[in-house]
């Protein structure tokens, strides 16, 4: 273990360390804590200049209630769900197949296609922006959730393929060979041999893609406009113009918009971190 395990150090350093951790954590999360405090204050506190004192009255329920019942926030949240979930399913399904093809078979161009997926995943969004917007307009999908979903599926397939292929590469190959000797058809090998072994990868990718897509902002403002199809990241800006300078409501709105991926992370922590740190260990 590095650094030296705390149990093996002096008693005084142990106590210092134990008190230091929460202090550092609070400093680290300070901007967020500030917003959380804002979201529970009444409007009066802001007009009286009581920015950083304790809330004069607790208005958490009223503020969050306003977000849910007096704004377009619920619609934006729902849009986000209807954009994120199909994208996760689509990208994971497509990349399970591409990953299988690139991870199991030896053929000419295998590495080339693999590297194309990786490279495409790194390009700046702006180089795709004008043509993708045109394509979406031509398909009649501008300002629809479907248009956004189709693009997201395609783009995420790059990252997911990298992930899936490397995961499949690490599976025991003799298993596949044994199935072949038995005369099992290739597509059945995929379905009944490889896919069940890929469960951890499928779970890890699902949570990762969920977070990435939920948090996307750029494509949301390029391909959609208005509360009929915009996800919550884009919706929060119109929410903020509805409640200009009402920091208690804007804070509450931001927290609501940020919450679903946070919940996803805490529920699926193991998978999330496994996905994010793939390749960080040899």
């Amino acid at each position: 273990m590095f650094p030296t395990p705390i149990e093996k150090t002096s008693r005084s350093w142990q106590i210092t360390y134990q008190t230091l951790i929460p202090i550092v954590l609070i400093i680290w999360l300070l901007p967020l804590i500030a917003v959380a405090v804002f979201s529970m204050k009444p409007l009066a506190d802001f007009s009286n200049g009581n920015y950083w004192g304790l809330p004069s009255t607790f208005e958490g329920f009223a503020n969050y209630g306003k977000v849910f019942f007096e704004s377009d926030m619920p619609r934006y949240l729902l849009n986000s769900v209807f954009i994120t979930v199909p994208t996760v399913i689509g990208a994971v399904a497509l990349s399970a197949m591409t990953g299988f093809a690139l991870g199991v078979y030896k053929f000419k161009g295998n590495l080339l296609i693999f590297f194309m997926f990786i490279a495409g995943n790194f390009v700046p969004f702006q180089i795709l922006m004008v043509p993708v917007r045109d394509l979406t307009l031509d398909l009649g999908l501008y300002d629809t959730k479907t248009g956004l979903v189709l693009f997201h599926i395609a783009f995420q397939t790059g990252f997911c393929t990298l992930f899936m292929r490397n995961f499949i590469r690490a599976l025991p190959f003799p298993l596949i060979e044994a199935a072949r000797v038995e005369g099992v058809a290739e597509w059945r090998i995929f379905l009944f041999v490889v896919l069940p072994l890929m469960k951890p990868a499928l779970a890890a990718l699902s949570v990762l893609i969920f977070t990435f897509i939920w948090n996307d902002y750029f494509w949301a403002i390029v391909l959609t406009q208005g509360p009929d199809s915009q996800p919550v990241t884009a919706g929060i800006t119109s929410f903020n113009s509805q409640f200009v300078a009402q920091y208690h409501l804007m804070s509450a709105g931001s927290i609501v918009a940020a919450l679903p991926p946070v919940a996803m992370f805490f529920l699926m922590q193991k998978h999330f971190i496994a996905g994010l740190t793939l390749g960080a260990v040899k």
Binding site: V35, M129, L150, M250, I255, V262
Partner: protein, 306 residues
């Protein structure tokens, strides 16, 4: 008869055909939305085009005109380019900072798992919310930063309102989630450091920074590589934070190439798709240097694996 023939033909070539069948849907989507658009952008950048109607009918061919205009003294482009460099250099601070926090947290005390998750937390929040959170944190009157500074006798600063500091303020906001990301990469890396090597080095009298530099860091190389890749990509992709925190201002001082491109092609300043595409191409070429390096490193690994 034909069915048995086709089936037997398929059976004979099953191993050769199957991968292509599996690749087809993914490749189709990826080509349509990623690969082909890259080339289309190159093509559009040679036109003057407002995005309405077909490029071939409404667009006016200007050859390299857009690039001449860009590189021949477009002040906005110069500001954006220098800001991109600032982002690239300063964003890399996330790597040592993430390493620092991960070393601090790599212990086994009660509740450490929860602490690690809470430290990682900023990465899970969308950049839009991070931007909002930090712009309120920086507010000259209501912001917490100035409340803290006033305890130390400072008169208060308006970070996002001052062209000299605005970009640094945004980069600091970006470093917050990025550091969390690097931290989690290093925590995973530290987990798999070979304990025997550490003990052996300890017996040889190595400790502190010498141990870190000569024994630990070499074993963290894969984590460092990934941290480097994601940080570079993140720096060049910066858009959300700028859009939310300053919208390019004050006086255009926080523009970067990705933001300037968006502004030229899709905002109230007009629909200059050709000019925007030219900016995107330049950003792409900068990125290509790094992409080339990443792919080359990965290729070396692949060759080693065979």
């Amino acid at each position: 008869m034909t069915t048995t023939q086709t089936r037997s033909w398929y059976k004979r070539n099953e191993i050769a055909i199957t991968p292509w069948l599996f690749l087809l849907p993914g490749l189709f989507f990826f080509a349509m939305y990623v690969i082909i658009p890259i080339f289309q952008s190159f093509w559009i950048s040679l036109y003057e085009w407002n995005g309405l109607g077909k490029l071939s009918e409404e667009g006016e061919w200007v050859g390299l005109g857009n690039y001449e205009r860009l590189l021949g003294g477009d002040r906005k482009f110069e500001t954006s380019f220098w800001n991109n460099l600032k982002w690239l250099v300063l964003y890399l601070l996330a790597i040592p900072m993430g390493l620092g926090i991960s070393l601090f947290l790599n212990q086994q005390v009660r509740g450490i798992r929860l602490y690690k998750s809470l430290f990682f937390f900023p990465f899970v929040i969308s950049q839009v919310v991070v931007g909002l959170v930090f712009s309120w944190f920086y507010l000259p009157r209501e912001g917490l930063l100035n409340a803290i500074l006033s305890w130390f006798g400072s008169d208060g600063v308006n970070i996002l309102g001052d062209p000299a500091t605005a970009t640094y303020g945004i980069i600091a906001a970006g470093l917050w989630p990025q550091t969390a990301y690097c931290m989690i990469l290093y925590l995973t890396g530290l987990n798999s450091v070979d304990p025997e090597q550490v003990e052996a080095a300890r017996l040889d009298g190595a400790k502190g920074h010498r141990m870190l530099w000569h024994v630990i860091l070499p074993q963290l190389k894969p984590a460092t590589f990934i941290a480097f890749v994601v940080t570079i990509i993140g720096a060049l992709r910066s858009f959300d934070l700028i859009s939310v925190m300053t919208n390019g201002g004050p006086f255009g001082s926080t523009r970067v190439l990705s933001f300037y491109m968006f502004e030229e092609s899709l905002s109230e300043y007009g629909f200059q798709m050709g000019y925007g595409a030219a900016i995107a191409v330049i950003l792409f070429l900068i990125m290509l240097v790094f992409i080339g390096y990443f792919l080359w490193s990965m290729y070396q690994d692949e060759k080693g694996a065979r």
